[in-house]
């Protein structure tokens, strides 16, 4: 440990006591999130409990010329929370209080470390929920949802995180505290709240959030449709939307992943179907009956071999549990995964899917597809064993081809997982130099010295001068 590290630690401990961790175990663990990427060495980790503490930590880091990286539950899939270099990690997991719920105004003030599903469980007896439901909702935090503008199966009808955030208290990289947005329907001035949501920790650290809470629908119907091929499932999805129905959620899983989740949840997902479509409609009882019936008909017209409706809440929850734990279930097939998060126009979904299978074949990799079909948001997971020599090169190359194919189909890089370090190298394919310059300038408006989560999102050549020594997607992050 260098002398400067010791001085930094001493200052941090004066504020946080034993809630500063700097041992080798902690440093090693925080090099990773839920992605395949490994960062540098996490600097001291500060387990903060209040806005004031976050502010003091940021000021101390600034005084010691150190960058900061905010971290929630570390369930990100793009390496957004991994440390590059040796920054101070600001952990927000202990800031997990639900501060205030106003059902009349339909607003809740929460701290950033509140677990997404904990908020919904808290609201359930009051008749409300927090609509964005990322598949990792049982562990991911609201702060992380804000940082990544997270989506989830039910965001098809309800909109992604951005639509559910009213105001955010932020500690900026210089230690200042500001509140972006407000509780009024039309706050004055530029929508800086909208800028901040999806900022991936590069615009400052979220310390308090006012979220919109959504009334629970009076009726819900969940359908499970089986198909011979993913193509049939994908065309059904397009046809449902074309028929003017906007279901609450439409999710597709291919055969291999369906078998893996069925091994875990045992709810009766068909093991012999080429793909399944999980469709949910909610609203008034009469409406959902009509929509459910119509979706079943459209499914059959497009090759559904079986249509089943969840008969109880318990069955419905289990079906969703299967879908939402799909990524974690892949270790049944291979010990490592790398997934993309591209979005393509719904009409191109079936073609792009077939291209993804072809690319995986070309590189001799296993691939499973589980995705938010209603949004055209693909999640191809390349499965591999990281111990195999040279495997990361193949995985990386196949990933690049998948991105290329998605962009060629008129798609975008990321639906909801963020750019992090993972998609940084592809930013040039999506944006012109001019676009990237403007994004960088926007970032500077919040954080001129690029101290907050440096080295992410914006690729090399567009990053701040003081972190030029950090290559974008630095050497070694790939395993």
């Amino acid at each position: 440990m260098t002398t400067s590290d010791e001085a930094l630690l001493a200052d941090l401990r004066r504020v946080l006591g034993d809630r500063v961790r700097a041992d080798s175990a902690e440093r090693a663990l925080l090099r990773r999130d839920a992605s395949v990427f490994e960062g540098g060495s996490a600097g001291p980790t500060c387990l903060c409990e209040s806005t004031e503490e976050v502010q003091q930590v940021v000021q101390i880091a600034l005084a010691h010329d150190r960058a900061i990286v905010p971290r929630g539950a570390g369930t990100g899939l793009a390496g957004g929370a991994i440390p590059l270099g040796s920054p101070v990690v600001v952990s927000l997991s202990r800031m997990n209080r639900i501060l205030e719920v106003d059902t009349e105004a339909r607003i809740a003030w929460v701290e950033p470390g509140v677990v997404n599903l904990d908020l919904t469980k808290y609201l359930t007896p009051l008749g409300y929920h927090f609509a964005p439901d990322p598949s990792s909702q049982q562990v991911c935090t609201i702060g992380g949802n804000v940082g990544n503008n997270s989506g989830g199966p039910h965001c098809l009808a309800y909109g992604v995180t951005n639509a559910h955030i009213l105001a955010i208290e932020v500690v900026l990289a210089d230690g200042g505290v500001v509140t972006l947005g407000g509780l009024n329907a039309e706050p004055a001035g530029y929508d800086l709240r909208g800028v901040f949501v999806g900022g991936e920790g590069m615009l400052g650290i979220t310390t308090k959030v006012a979220v919109r809470i959504t009334p629970n629908p009076p009726a819900v119907r969940t359908l499970l449709l089986s198909f011979d091929t993913p193509r049939d499932a994908a065309t059904t999805v397009s046809a449902v939307i074309a028929a003017g129905i906007v279901p609450a959620a439409m999710e597709v899983m291919d055969q291999r992943i369906t078998i893996a989740v069925e091994n875990y949840v045992n709810v009766g997902y068909p093991r012999d179907a080429g793909a399944v479509l999980l469709a949910e409609v909610d609203g008034l009882p009469d409406g959902v009956e009509i929509d459910a019936k119509r979706i079943a008909e459209i499914g059959r017209e497009h090759g559904a071999t079986d249509v089943r409706q969840a008969q109880s809440d318990e069955e419905r929850m289990l079906l969703w549990k299967g879908r939402k734990t799909a990524f974690g279930a892949v270790a049944q097939i291979a010990p490592n995964y790398y997934l993309h998060d591209t979005v393509v126009p719904r009409s191109k979904l079936a073609d792009t899917l077939e291209e993804v299978y072809r690319i995986a074949d070309e590189y001799d990799l296993a691939v499973v597809n589980v995705f938010h079909a209603g949004d055209g948001n693909l999640h191809p997971l390349l499965l591999f064993n990281g111990q195999e020599p040279g495997i990361y090169d193949r995985v990386h190359a196949a990933g690049a081809k998948i991105v290329e194919a998605s962009l060629a189909a008129g798609g975008v890089l990321s639906g909801e997982h963020g750019i992090g370090v993972e998609k940084q190298p592809y930013m040039h394919q999506m944006f012109s130099d001019d676009d990237l310059d403007h994004q960088e300038r926007l970032r500077h408006a919040f954080d001129p010295a690029c101290r907050s989560n440096p080295g992410k999102v914006i690729p090399v050549g567009h990053s701040c001068a003081d972190i030029q020594s950090l290559r974008a997607t630095p050497e070694g992050v790939w395993g």
Binding site: A25, L47, A73, S136, V139, T325, Q387
Partner: protein, 370 residues
């Protein structure tokens, strides 16, 4: 250092983090080091990459309560319980297993245990036992002897529970008899099952004690266990048929007499070894619903209470933080009494000010009230 974990199985964690919320020590610390994902990553570093066993690394392993709440949360069905058991065994070996062997030695000596407990009861009356040890408030001086009423089932009486909570055994026996079963309490013929030894990393000794239990009992007679920890261990290690008491009785609900349900609200606290290991926590509700007015659920998704066998004594600080979280959940549910089917949990929670009974005692009370 070799932790004795199969490297292929150690590779099955993809680090998705879906286990985090189900881990009591992560929940109270918010610190990755105290999470299943973090602990598995550290096991990998120690076993596969020869990382040093620093105090922080051993602390990460020692603070695991082994509640196994992470196992049902894992979609890849990573056998975490096997990992931590193996890690504990390697650590115990590394530190010198004699310390733990000595500490647990009395468990396999029933008479010594009774004498020790009586001395402890005297010391308690003389106010020589600090409350923080979490012992039952008034240990009994004397214990009425067991009686045999038939040989349809064994009632497994175990070690510490038989000394400190024998009344729970009597209640369980009365309920089994009310359902028409002749009961043989195992008593001294089959003492400690070895669960605490296995938990503490003394795997061979644990196995040996289980074999002694098996050898002493007739394999054709089912063993009924009313301690969730012992039941979980016996189900995994014994070759006999083993049932949790509530699980067994819920299957024979029609044999129990109809009585007026007790006017009370009971909140069910699931012992981890019943819920996560035996996965037999629902029968407790089936049974209680027949005998009390209202059965209510806690809102913490069955998170551990922090007792963990000897954990509350070995890791008092963490155990208390975990208990505080549980007590807050109990306070929100505001029941008249909490039902818990494990002696460790009930002692730990009682020391935290919770009114707690074994479900068998509640059912017995209802049956006796008629």
């Amino acid at each position: 250092m070799d932790l004795g974990i199969d490297p292929d199985r150690l590779g099955t964690c993809v680090q998705c983090g879906l286990c985090l919320s189900s881990c009591p020590t992560y929940r109270v610390t918010g610190d990755e080091t105290f999470s299943p994902r973090g602990r598995i990553a550290l096991m990998r570093q120690v076993q596969l990459h020869d990382a040093p066993l620093t105090p922080e690394v051993t602390e990460a392993f020692d603070t695991c309560i082994q509640c196994l709440g992470c196992e049902p949360a894992c979609p890849s069905v990573v056998p975490y319980g096997h990992f931590i058991e193996s890690t504990r065994a390697a650590l115990t070996e590394h530190r010198g297993p004699w310390k733990r062997s000595v500490a647990l030695w009395p468990l396999s000596k029933p008479r010594l245990l009774r004498i020790g407990s009586t001395l402890l009861a005297v010391a308690q009356r003389l106010r020589l036992v600090p409350a923080r040890l979490g012992l039952p408030q008034r240990l009994p001086f004397r214990r009425p002897t067991h009686r045999t009423s038939g040989s349809d089932v064994y009632l497994f009486t175990g070690c510490v529970m038989d000394v400190w909570q024998r009344e729970v055994h009597f209640a369980t026996q009365r309920v089994l008899e009310a359902a028409g079963f002749g009961v043989t309490p195992t008593g001294d013929q089959a003492g400690c099952c070895g669960a605490l030894h296995t938990h503490a990393g003394l795997l061979n000794r644990g196995e040996q004690l289980t074999q002694q239990v098996d050898a002493a009992l007739d394999p054709s007679i089912p063993i009924i266990v009313n301690s969730a920890g012992c039941g979980a261990h016996l189900k995994q290690h014994s070759s006999h048929q083993v049932f949790d008491a509530q699980e067994f009785l819920a299957q024979h609900l029609d044999r129990l007499p109809e009585v007026t349900p007790l006017e009370m609200t009971v909140a069910v606290q699931d012992p981890c070894h019943l819920r996560h290991v035996q996965r037999a926590h629902l029968p407790t509700r089936t049974l209680l619903k027949r005998f009390v007015n209202t059965v209510s659920e806690l809102d913490d998704d069955g998170l551990c209470c922090g007792a963990g066998g000897a954990y509350s004594i070995l890791q008092p600080k963490m155990a208390q933080q975990v208990r505080d979280r549980k007590v807050a959940s109990i306070t929100r549910a505001a029941p008249d009494v909490v039902a818990s089917a494990n002696p460790g949990c009930s002692m730990h929670l009682a020391a935290g000010g919770v009114t707690i009974e074994h479900p068998m005692v509640i059912v017995d009370n209802a049956l006796r009230a008629g």
